[in-house]
């Protein structure tokens, strides 16, 4: 009878591994979790079954390839398409050179874009599209090879990027007989232009407004504050309507402001106000000791801001700024309401074609996918920038 105590068995530690064990531990460990797991699986099954049957058997995807041309460039005349490809080639040269000169992120982005070019090459697009993709990819690779270790070219490449903007506009518009008026700009091309202009123009304006709102001079402070609060107080669509309906009435006589330019102005003014508040958040996070130290070593106000305060402030608010860019990109879709044929405007127009009437799900899903690709790319790049700059780590 005395020996019974030591016969108690101790189980060996469970050394089983693998998916079955993981499932048991996480999804089926108690009776209520088992029920929840089964319910969840059933729900997912029915949702996915519905989606898949629709996507693969019921949806009429023919509408997308048939209208690919107008989805990408809208009513832009085909005989002038060389303008668009020239712009793309020019940007490919700049991008390739930059990737060669600067390491790190620039190179990663370039490689990603090169991959996209290669993918377009393999997809069953029309032959001319694939030719352009091929040429652009080759140009990208060649200029990358040329640009390697050419550190003394840095300044010229930066100048090139700055000039690329007016160059793109002039190239797309053209002169004389071959002019392509902005009413012919459309599709993804117009969406990208509107977004690029908005992003490039709203950033400096936003920084100035943020500095203005914190200025010691009452006049500047008040103007900035009134501007920011007024613009933030109205929806973007009202600004666009004001641009497209009110502004032309105020314009004198024959003077007409281009419809696309009016939309660009409205988008820029709108985002600048939000940008200003984002930047101001960053400015407030900088301890006043920084400014005092800069003043103590004799830096002027512009130098203090440019070299001491703004670099730290902007670095702190990268997520907010990129968030602003992403929402600006999506906001460009509102211009379809004031009669511009951007990506969403083309979608509406395609649905107005008797041949494709009633295909809303297919068309809108396709457009949504394009928006997602671009927005996610922006978000991804911003995460990369953050990790490269070590934001949030030290």
């Amino acid at each position: 009878m005395e020996n019974t105590a030591i016969t108690q068995e101790v189980k060996p530690p469970n050394t089983k591994k693998g998916p079955v064990k993981w499932l048991k531990d996480n999804l089926f460990n108690t009776w209520y979790n088992t029920i929840l797991t089964c319910l969840g699986l059933a729900f997912l099954f029915f949702v996915f079954k519905g989606v898949f049957t629709w996507v693969f058997t019921q949806a009429d995807w023919e509408v997308i390839p048939a209208n690919l041309q107008i989805f990408s460039i809208g009513p832009y005349p085909l005989e002038q398409i060389w303008r668009v490809s020239t712009v793309i080639y020019g940007l490919a040269v700049l991008l390739g050179l930059s990737a060669g000169i600067w390491n790190g992120l620039t190179r990663q982005i370039t490689v990603a874009i090169g991959c996209i070019g290669a993918i377009i090459l393999l997809l069953p697009f029309h032959i001319p599209v694939r030719e352009h993709a091929l040429i652009a990819t080759v140009i990208l690779a060649v200029s990358f090879a040329i640009g390697r270790n050419k550190d003394n070219w840095k300044r010229w490449v930066v100048v090139g990027w700055v000039l690329s903007f007016p160059w793109t506009m002039m190239m797309l518009h053209g002169f004389g007989a071959g002019t392509v008026s902005t009413t012919m700009w459309g599709g993804l091309l117009l969406t990208l232009i509107l977004a690029a202009v908005g992003i490039v123009a709203c950033f400096p304006l936003g920084v100035l407004l943020a500095l203005g709102r914190r200025s010691q001079l009452p006049a500047i402070r008040w103007v900035s504050t009134v501007y920011i609060e007024t613009i933030r107080g109205v929806p973007l669509i009202t600004l666009l309507f004001m641009g497209s309906i009110l502004l032309p009435i105020f314009m004198p006589g024959d003077f007409q402001l281009d419809k696309v330019i009016r939309a660009m102005v409205a988008l820029t003014l709108f985002s600048a106000a939000y940008m200003a508040e984002n930047v101001r958040g960053g400015l407030q996070a900088i301890p006043s000791g920084q400014v005092e130290a800069a003043q103590a070593v004799g830096l002027t106000y512009p130098k203090t801001m440019l070299f001491i305060v703004l670099p730290q402030a902007l670095r702190a608010v990268i997520p907010a700024i990129v968030g602003q860019f992403i929402s600006l990109f999506k906001d460009t879709s509102l211009v379809s309401i004031v009669g511009l044929v951007d990506l969403l405007g083309v979608a509406r127009s395609v649905l107005g074609n008797a041949e494709w009437i009633g295909l809303q799900p297919e068309v809108y899903l396709f457009v949504a996918a394009i928006y997602f690709v671009f927005c996610y790319a922006m978000s991804f790049v911003s995460q990369k920038i953050e990790s490269d700059l070590g934001v949030g780590k030290h």
Binding site: A66, N67, Q69, I70, I73, G74, P75, Y76, P77, L78, S181, T183, M184, G186, F241, S244, I245, P248, I249, M251, P252, G253, D254, F255, Q256, K259, S336, I337, V338, G339, L340, V341, G345, V346, R348, S349, V350, L351, G352, N353, A354, I357, G358, Q360
Partner: protein, 339 residues
């Protein structure tokens, strides 16, 4: 200090008001502007089945766009010299008033208020539409008087909604209006039987019926509760230009009345003096309008007669000719005499 500021504001306002007239319109006719520019700018709908939409080749297509091409052919001798500007319902009149577009051809109903209050002039309607009702055959309703108590779907904020209320009230019928902001939602809801009846312009009902799950199960009532004459508009006061646009429209009517088609217009042989004047073989019809003598011939060569324009754009979406037939066949299209 304060007075000085006020003084400066006054000076500024004065200066602006003095300078503004310098930029004012030079009051030339749009006809001359179009000729100088070598291009017509025409406002259209951004996406309306059959009337205005962006074709797969990136060119604006549809019934309204074809009339824009006809005007370009008459004035410039080339139907491709036209730039289309898609416009929404709110901005269309502003675009015309400010001179951003030369002519507006965008499903616009000719009404007294628009004619009198807005700075616009109408030209002969190119399409006579009217508001009607569509409902499932299974309801076995044949007249509007039986619609008491029905829920009726309509797009919000349109004259359609107003017409519906007026009609039902004048008949003393109770009904349940359901407004939708979006046309697609309206027809999807109707198809899902969330409303019993849907009301809109008959052209739209016909175009959308094709798209329902079972098009044959639905019927459009014979009754028409409103007149919707749709036609091109020009800016108020430019009579010369309005004449040109009007006569381009008449030319398409006239050609159908006399069986002149896109195909036979070049070789059309006739002793009829009016047709000779129409084709520019005699008389000075073109000179009187400020156009080349063969302007009408150019129009028919470019887009064909009214019947051909209709068959190309509206027959495919299932629209019957209805009253949009020449007066000789009992329709409403009546060209004024070419003399």
């Amino acid at each position: 200090m304060r007075n000085k500021f006020l003084f400066r504001v006054c000076v500024l306002v004065l200066a602006i008001s003095l300078v503004t007239p310098l930029f004012a319109d030079n009051h030339g006719s749009i006809l001359d502007k179009v000729k100088n520019r070598g291009k017509l700018v025409c406002g259209v709908h951004g996406g309306l089945p059959g009337f205005g939409f962006l074709g797969e080749d990136g060119k604006w297509s549809g019934f309204d766009a074809d009339f824009g091409r006809a005007i370009a052919a008459a004035v410039l001798g080339d139907p491709s010299k036209v730039e289309f500007v898609p416009l929404n319902a709110a901005e269309r009149f502003t675009a015309l008033q400010t001179g951003e577009i030369d002519v507006l051809i965008r499903n616009t109903t000719w009404t007294l208020s628009r004619d009198a209050e807005l700075s616009t002039d109408f030209t002969p309607p190119t399409f006579y539409d009217g508001q009607g009702f569509m409902l499932p055959k299974s309801l076995k309703i044949t007249s509007i008087k039986e619609l008491g108590g029905a829920s009726i779907g309509v797009t919000a904020g349109s004259t359609t909604e107003l017409n519906l209320t007026d009609t039902m009230r004048s008949l003393g019928l109770e009904f349940n209006p359901v407004s939708y902001a979006d046309i697609d939602t309206l027809y999807n809801s109707y198809d899902a039987r969330r409303v019993d009846v849907v009301t809109s312009d008959k052209s739209q009902l016909v175009a959308r019926r094709k798209d329902l799950k079972n098009p044959d199960d639905h019927v459009i009532l014979d009754v028409t509760i409103s007149k919707e004459p749709l036609g091109p508009l020009t800016i108020h006061g430019d009579n010369k230009w309005n004449d040109v646009v009007s006569w381009v429209v008449y030319a398409t009517f006239f050609a159908e009345e006399h069986n002149i088609t896109q195909e036979n217009v070049k070789t059309f042989k006739t002793e009829n003096p009016e047709i000779k004047r129409f084709l520019g073989e005699s008389g000075t019809m073109g000179e009187k309008l400020g156009l080349p003598e063969d302007w009408a011939k150019q129009v028919i060569m470019a887009v064909g007669n009214y019947g051909e324009i209709f068959e190309r754009n509206l027959t495919p979406i299932g629209l019957p000719r209805g009253v949009n037939k020449p007066w000789t066949q009992g329709g409403l299209l009546y060209s004024m005499p070419f003399r």
